[in-house]
């Protein structure tokens, strides 16, 4: 993986040398909700990234929390090895409740 030229989400950070660093933005829509990737912003400092993220991704709505992460800090799985990489999760049917037989008439399991 070419971490210095490409962000986890694919963004180019070296397209122009004068371009500010790329930060990935995650927003939480409402308390208790997960943080979800919203997009990215360019910024010079973490505070700057946070302000830009607010202006671009939280102009309205229920955003209660923001994360900004330097794009280069995200390590992503590659599409090419997604098959073998996720295999261990697919071949163990016994991890699912449907795998198990229950005697007829028994409830609440």
């Amino acid at each position: 993986m070419t971490k210095d030229t490409v962000s986890a989400t694919g963004g180019a950070t070296t397209a122009a040398e004068t371009q500010w660093d790329l930060w990935e933005v995650f927003t939480q829509e409402g308390e208790g909700a997960p943080h979800e990737h919203a997009g990215s912003v360019h910024a010079t400092t973490p505070e700057h990234a946070m302000q830009n993220a607010r202006d671009v991704y939280a102009r309205r709505g229920k955003i209660v929390s923001l994360w900004v992460v330097p794009s280069g800090a995200i390590i992503a799985s590659a599409p090419s090895d997604s098959g073998p990489f996720f295999d261990p999760g697919n071949d163990k049917a016994y991890r699912h409740p449907q795998f198990y037989k229950t005697p007829r008439g028994v409830r609440g399991l």
């Binding site: 962000s7 397209a15 122009a16 004068t18 010079t44």
Partner: protein, 327 residues
Amino acid sequence: MTDQKSPAPAPAAGTADDAARVAEFEARIARGESIEPKDWMPERYRKQLVRMMSQHAHSEIVGMLPEGNWITRAPSLRRKMVLLAKVQDEAGHGLYIYCGTETLGVGREELVDQLLTGKAKYSSIFNYPTLTWADIGVIGWFVDGAAIVNQTMLAKASFGPYARAMVRICKEENFHKKQGYESVATLANGTPEQHAMVQDAVNRWWWPSLMMFGPSDKDSPNSAELIRWRVKRDTNDTLRQRFVDLTVPQARAVNLTLPDPDLRFDEESQQWEFGQIDWKEVYEVISGNGPCNRERLAARRKAHEDGAWVREAAEAYAAKRNVVSAA
């Protein structure tokens, strides 16, 4: 530019588009799968997306100019707040889409540079002038209305980052259209002078709005390919018809006429038939000879140059901070 961001095993430049990979890619599209930035894609698909997305992003940015022109002259504080919020949204929409093009390995700065040097295209609608306050309402109603028809389709585009940006934009764009129509309805129900002013704006913006959907299907070189790759789902003419069918009843509801003597409802197709678009005008505006092409670019360049000190200050602050934290 783009080879460096292909996933391992890295294809050698030039051999990437081998038939097997294209077949697998098209099978994924046919299954309705979403293509993500690090997935393999034909170079042509990437190029078409960069072209479409960058033109779209530029249109959002240039689109701020005709409306920004009226912020200081909005007739009430309410309308002024609304217009400020709308123009700010347009900046945000431009940034969402630039962020999408960056996932394809094209930097925002590179694209902005293409816009400022006049190399890039943007929607020709923004090369028409906003002559009266009524234009602002009509733009929200027609131009944002047309954009919603287009973007609702693009929200199902096969390229994930583009589709996600469109979903985000569509959620916000409905406010743009409704505020415009409210403003139009207010003027249409106002004094005779106000009604005449808004009718005049409708007369000037109707045809350019229909032109926003691009050339007719028979002259649209990119359509077939874009539909095959599910970047688009409908043709230009289909989208244009959808917009006309939505808009005609809205005009009638507020006693405004549309400047087309051939406009008539076809009972058989249940659609509004409309007259011939002046394609000569379309190509004139696209090739840079619209009423405001030069003015728009000059305004964009001035804004970019006037903002230079802000960018420099941000960089100076970051540099100073790094020195302090290193000490």
